[in-house]
Subunit: 491 residues, 2 copies
């Protein structure tokens, strides 16, 4: 009798678990539903597929980290039963955002030196600050901070270039975020490697270690054509050809760069890179602000992806990238935040909004980049720019399950007329509610599940003290022109 | 005995209320403290006074709707005892933000037509949509929606121009927000007044009704020099001279306006307005995008305030206002969001950030508008642009108590090095925590106290249905070029 009761209770538990774990999944009569891991159920599904389908009251089924079906909620729920259901009713369901260019550990330098031009900022402030502060632990803490901020804002994939990139990769995988992560190589001693040979050895072992990882794609990141010489750039290209590792780099960010390269090499940056055989379909070029039509044609011809960083380019007064011309020529142009030291955040919603608006005012053409195209730059076109569009950038069966659920009814979003306009011009990072990467829920109802927010903040504040102390000639703002910066690093 | 107990309990209640209502106010021994209504206690007080004092662990004492003292927390708390204390420790305490130009009821048109140039947008979409939808009730609901969004984002004063401005004023006073509110007058029939004479009569009674109100300053708002003829502009000026009501208007927003005015009047817009005696120290000119140095000199000479709307100017591809040149010439330049139909939000944090960045990229000078100056444009300089700096724009004894408490430790704000950079480049509207206007707490710990957020959203959604239905030739996005807009209004 006791045994019978126990069996009965066990059966009851099993039954209740099944019911509880799939609260909104109803099955068609007599049909056996397929088991999946997760269903995102209800809401406006903005697929960004080739037909740009927008499915009202849609759903997305996920299994094994991949999307298995996208469709009407009624269809999906009649065919699939899930262990876990995310209720997205009344919300937008969008592809995870792709931050095409950043230096994630630089979150710890957020705001150390503002309102300066790129050259002064880089040589007098950022490079010295990095030399004095950047260690593997610094990189880990800064990466955690940046990852937490990016998840909160709905970014699921980011392209990074920094030092100790193996630690960046480790933290990224641990947090469950997708990264195209490039180890920076450059012609002067940097925190992780003191010689070119050391840097190339580090990169080789970094690429071998992470190749084939589901979340991390390892890459090599020569800093820029003005900080890496021709011989070294050729080595980078040969390395990429041998390992198939992507190359991420800064190209043509400022007028000064164009002048310097032209003086030293007799050609503009993209032309120079083409001449030395550097261009190819694994290249990702950040910025491409100061490029002409011939250079745009070279990018297209060679399958190079470009990443536009509107807020960074504005803040550092670099110029306005010819994004409409690049898009017209068929170049894949993604969007990036750049590092938090030059932006000063990792907010892709602001980049979308700014990309659309900056292109309009720069061309006096308000139709030149409509909201939908700006949204594409942050999703599918951004994925193409990183050469990752076979895997991410849209909600389609077969792609990796990087899915973001966004509130649509905050005050600043009320009322709603057009979904793309709503997402690009009215939605903020704070409206992101739930984030799924590789089928795993990493933020649920605004609670981070893979990172400890309070602990990260504490560690970041401790680094703030160290960074401040390390800047030996620390002077308060009133000492220098207020226009320049809060604190100064000794030259 | 019973009576004794009751008295004792009553005394206990009084005592506990006193203790509870001033938890962090300690009095110097033997010193009698002055009674005030409110103390904002602790935090980094960013005064924006003439010395630009930033007081760490500061406090602000408030009585009768005005600031009575600003200083170190220890000093303030030794001199004052308050009925209510707002704990601002670890936060920033800043002057309420000044949104220098908007059309608040247009929140209900947020996103009805995007990615269009100003002329097409205005004549084919906005004016017809207004003709079909704008009633006094529409204006009330839209105003409530916009006020709620502005309070949430830390805006305490706004300058408006719309129709049924008496209803806007009524809602504004009720919500406890400060407004410089202009009734729009224009040379064609509009929702509230069908003739010029009616509009002037409405405005006269509107100005008489609200003059002297603590929160609402009534104004007259001729739409623009291209929609109001010379004779009518002269009447507006005479009205303002007689009533002392401010004049708010759009001036030199686009190149087309400059061409049209030059063709019709043989002078550029500001020159034309100077010639007809329209310029004066009660004028507030929104936009001033397409103005030259001679026109800037005229603004300065005549004490005209200017309001820069960077995001609207970008989105409508109007151009980049010469803000650095205006500031150098001594013109007070504030910041505005413009209406939500052309932005698409009322977020002053994004305007500050964009103003600083847009000026940099437009001039190739990253130092041209540093963070502190952008923050001033949203506070004290913005108050000067509205001719209200005697009352608002900074935290100083004697000014009206418009005070905003802002979180400083969100992920996207971590770590912190420089307060102005932090506020302008990293802080978001969602970081605003508590808002005080005229000494009254209108939002506390992100809870709106004077407006019912859910009810407003419901009413706004109902208007969304009406607006959509009213647009008779409503066509889905796929009918027309996706580049153009979501919905079309019949011509």
């Amino acid at each position: 009798m006791k045994q019978h009761l126990s069996r009965f209770l066990f059966a009851l538990v099993l039954l209740s678990q099944t019911i509880l774990s799939s609260p909104s999944v109803s099955l068609a009569k007599g049909q056996r539903s397929k088991r999946v891991d997760l269903i995102v159920s209800g809401g406006t599904v903005v697929t960004m597929d080739k037909d740009r389908r927008v499915i009202e009251d849609g759903a997305v089924a996920v299994a094994g980290g991949r999307i298995v079906a996208v469709g009407k909620r009624s269809e999906i729920e009649s065919q699939y039963a899930a262990r876990d259901v995310v209720d997205a009713r009344g919300r937008a369901v969008i592809p995870g955002l792709v931050n095409g260019h950043t230096h994630v550990p630089m979150t710890l330098f957020r705001g150390i030196a503002d309102d300066l031009d790129l050259n002064e900022w880089l040589t007098k402030y950022i490079f010295p600050a990095e030399a004095k502060n950047v260690t593997e632990d610094f990189v880990r803490v800064g990466t955690q901070l940046g990852l937490a901020e990016m998840i909160r804002g709905g970014t699921t994939t980011y392209c990074d270039m920094y030092y100790f990139e193996d630690a960046v990769a480790d933290e990224t995988e641990r947090a469950g975020v997708r990264g195209l992560l490039g180890e920076t190589v450059i012609d002067f001693p940097v925190p992780d490697n003191k010689t070119w040979a050391d840097a190339m050895r580090y990169t080789d072992s970094f690429v071998r270690k992470w190749k084939g990882n589901a979340l991390v794609t390892p890459a090599i990141a020569p800093h820029a054509p003005y900080t890496v010489n021709e011989q070294h750039l050729r080595e980078v290209k040969a390395f990429s050809d041998r390992t198939q590792a992507p190359i991420v780099t800064h190209v043509s960010e400022t007028r000064k760069e164009v002048e310097d390269i032209t003086r030293d090499h007799g050609a503009r940056p993209v032309e120079y890179l083409a001449r030395i055989g550097f261009l190819g379909p694994r290249d990702v070029f950040a910025h491409t602000v100061q490029i002409n039509d011939a250079e745009i044609a070279l990018l297209k011809q060679n399958g190079v992806g470009a990443v536009h960083n509107p807020q960074s380019n504005m803040k550092l007064a670099s110029g306005v990238a010819p994004v409409p011309a690049m898009l017209r020529a068929g170049v894949a142009v993604g969007l990036g935040t750049d590092g938090a030291a030059s932006n000063n955040d990792l907010d892709m919603w602001e980049e979308m909004d700014t990309a659309a608006k900056l292109a309009k005012v720069a061309t006096f053409d308000p139709k030149v980049i409509p909201a939908e195209e700006a949204f594409a730059m942050a999703t599918i076109t951004g994925a193409r720019a990183l050469h990752m569009d076979a895997d991410i950038g849209s909600l389609e069966a077969g792609k990796r399950a990087d899915i973001v659920i966004v509130d649509l009814d905050s005050l600043h979003q009320t009322p709603r007329y057009n979904i793309y306009s709503h997402l690009v011009y009215a939605t903020k990072a704070a409206d992101v509610r739930t984030v799924v990467i590789e089928g795993r829920v990493v933020m649920r109802d605004r609670r981070l599940l893979t990172l400890d927010e309070e602990q990260i903040k504490q560690k970041a504040r401790a680094y703030r003290e160290r960074v401040s102390r390390s800047l030996s000639a620390l002077r308060p703002i009133s000492d220098s022109s207020i226009a320049e910066c809060g604190f100064r690093i000794a030259d």
